[in-house]
């Protein structure tokens, strides 16, 4: 039971962070399908930080360094989307897809090159961080409390305030609803969209590092992040682009994801003999069904996916 709560919370943190990232990007008017790719690069940045920080580093410094590296990696990678989608008016779905493929290839190439340079016989794409990972975890009576849960909760609060209570957030949302109108009152739509995409890179990168430290202590970069970026998109849509609802959706989806890991621990679930893949599948099926019923009056930002062109009206 404790294990279930622990996994639910940590998976929910991942989904929450990444979905919030998507939320910022979409509210500014850019569809970010590349979240999966941003997660991979964030995970890579964080993993490399854990690998190269000296062993005896203070836990706080370690957490800070890892987060900063993951965030920087995620933001740098999201620049690819921002440049293409905002300045060059490229097809956002296409760019997102390209970013996802690119991220796995890039991360694998980087990790393999590092591994080979260290030891010519090691051609794997695995980074180990078993010791560094301990900085994030506090063991409270069998419950592995993870600092990332706190970080995710804080960022949820911050996101809510930024989006709804600040001038910046309201302007950002205006750019996703009606960029022409926003521009006419002196808001720089391009700048706002850049901000939205960069914030999504920040949160997505952070989500990536949380994901790979969630259950395991080494990561094989060839597998990417196994669809968590896409799941986060589902969380975001399920949460109707609102931070509070996104948090609830993240908890629900995280719960199902956790069930697939630990269902054997429950006698009645194990007796049902449902393969773990079914639990893995559940969030996707649920979101598809819910989408079918709720999309008629979708709360999606009206101008998302449409490149903003100053000249058009």
């Amino acid at each position: 039971m404790i294990l279930l709560i622990q996994y639910t919370l940590i998976f929910a943190s991942v989904l929450l962070l990444v979905a919030l990232g998507g939320c910022f990007s979409e509210h500014s008017g850019v569809i970010n399908l590349g979240l999966e790719g941003i997660m991979v690069l964030g995970a890579l940045g964080g993993a490399l930080a854990m690998k190269y920080m000296p062993a005896g580093t203070n836990a706080f410094v370690m957490i800070l360094a890892v987060c900063v590296c993951a965030i920087l990696a995620g933001m740098c990678y999201s620049v690819l989307l921002a440049v293409a989608a905002i300045n060059f008016k490229a097809d956002q779905t296409l760019i997102g897809t390209a970013m996802n493929i690119l991220s796995t290839a890039l991360a694998t190439v980087i990790v393999k090159s590092i591994n080979v340079a260290e030891n010519p016989d090691n051609v794997s794409s695995v980074i180990q961080y078993i010791n560094a990972k301990k900085a994030f975890i506090i063991n409270i009576a069998g419950f592995e409390f993870n600092w990332f849960m706190v970080i995710a909760a804080c960022l949820l609060g911050i996101s809510y305030v930024v989006l709804y209570k600040t001038r910046f957030g309201l302007r950002l949302m205006a750019c996703g609803e009606n960029p022409q109108a926003a521009d006419s009152v002196g808001i720089n739509v391009y700048k706002m969209r850049w901000a939205g995409v960069l914030i999504s890179g920040l949160l997505g990168g952070l989500g990536g590092i949380v994901y790979i430290t969630a259950g395991v202590s080494e990561w094989k970069f060839e597998v990417g992040v196994a669809g968590f970026g896409f799941l986060s998109l589902a969380v975001m849509i399920f949460g109707q682009w609102k931070p509070t609802k996104i948090a609830l959706a993240a908890l629900l989806f995280g719960f199902f994801r956790a069930l697939s890991n630990v269902y054997t621990g429950f006698a009645f679930l194990a007796a049902l003999k449902i393969p773990s893949t079914v639990y893995n599948m559940m969030p996707y099926i649920i979101s598809l069904v819910v989408l079918a019923f709720t999309s008629k009056n979708s709360r999606a930002p009206k101008a998302e996916g449409i490149p903003y062109d100053k000249g058009s009206r």
């Binding site: 399908l33 293409a84 779905t93 970013m99 190439v109 393999k112 080979v116 051609v123 896409f230 893995n280």
Partner: protein, 372 residues
Amino acid sequence: MKEKENFLKKPGVQSVLTSLICIILGLFVGYIALLIINPAGASKAIITLVKNFLNYPTFPAQMKYLGNTLVKTAPLLMCALSVCFCYKAGLFNIGAAGQYVAGAGAALYAALAWNLPWFVCLLLAMCAGGVLGCISGYLKANHNVNEVISGIMLNWISLYTVNVLLAKVKEQASPYTFNLASKNPSSILPTMGLDKLFSNNRYVTIAIPLSILIAILISVILTKTKFGYELRATGFNKDAAKYAGMRERRNIILTLTIGGALAGLGAAFLFLTAFEQWSVTQSSVPGMGFNGIAATFLGGLNPIGTIFSSFFIQHINNGGAYLDKAVYPSQISDLIIALIIYLCGFVLFFKSFINARISAGDGKKAKKGGNA
């Protein structure tokens, strides 16, 4: 001089030109990546990568490995056609990856569990992909669910379902499905003597000519039939098409169903050659569908163009396997392909750039003519 400019203005020429720009830039960045990893062998490595099967010294060996590239080009082409066909109607079929998975599942299960002959397996694969496409289309037409979102969800649903399904027909000791050749030879696609052409490469089957025929067929449907016209009209302007009395909803569902069937068929084209076995432990959606998106855009959104772009992408993909693994990771080829897709996003910009240059040149000349 004037004729040459007109030549550059042709949309077809521009498409080829922009695709070439994407390819060259992609390869160039790939080369830089190789230089960073190990400067000494980078030039040799990029040549190896681009040469692919030409790395073999003798002609029969070259033909044999050209065959291997072609075997994987056929499914890629089908996925690309699927994406291309839907894109013409303004639909982004990112679900091609999942439809491909569903097709693989149906074809392999029918072949291994029910011992059905190859043509039935092909049909079932088409149906499986078509059903997935139909779900996306139905949700889009009647429930306003974006086809990209439903496609992504269905990708994962079909991956997990197929893994469960094919676990019933897998080998005891490994995560791979049974070998078709030993279990049910009647399900393997006939070669019709094509294998002789490629130094007895028994994986070269009718799938390859079939996929090219289908590409031509799709091209004809799009340009010469009423359905194709309606479809493109919907892609250009959805509301105008609806206003003109075209049945928008029916067309959306039909387009995605056909797209799904194409991708499903593509999977059967690969797995029914026994070239590969399905691994039931794979935890990510196979890249074939996503590479199909690459081939579509690189092929200038033209069914005939995708034939060449699919071959090129598969060529680079296979070429990665010949790199010296002790120095360079083979994923460099994935990297180059991903870069090419990314650059395809800039096609619009490249085209307007070319057009701007041409009209600037025209303007200059007109001025000169006026002065003289």
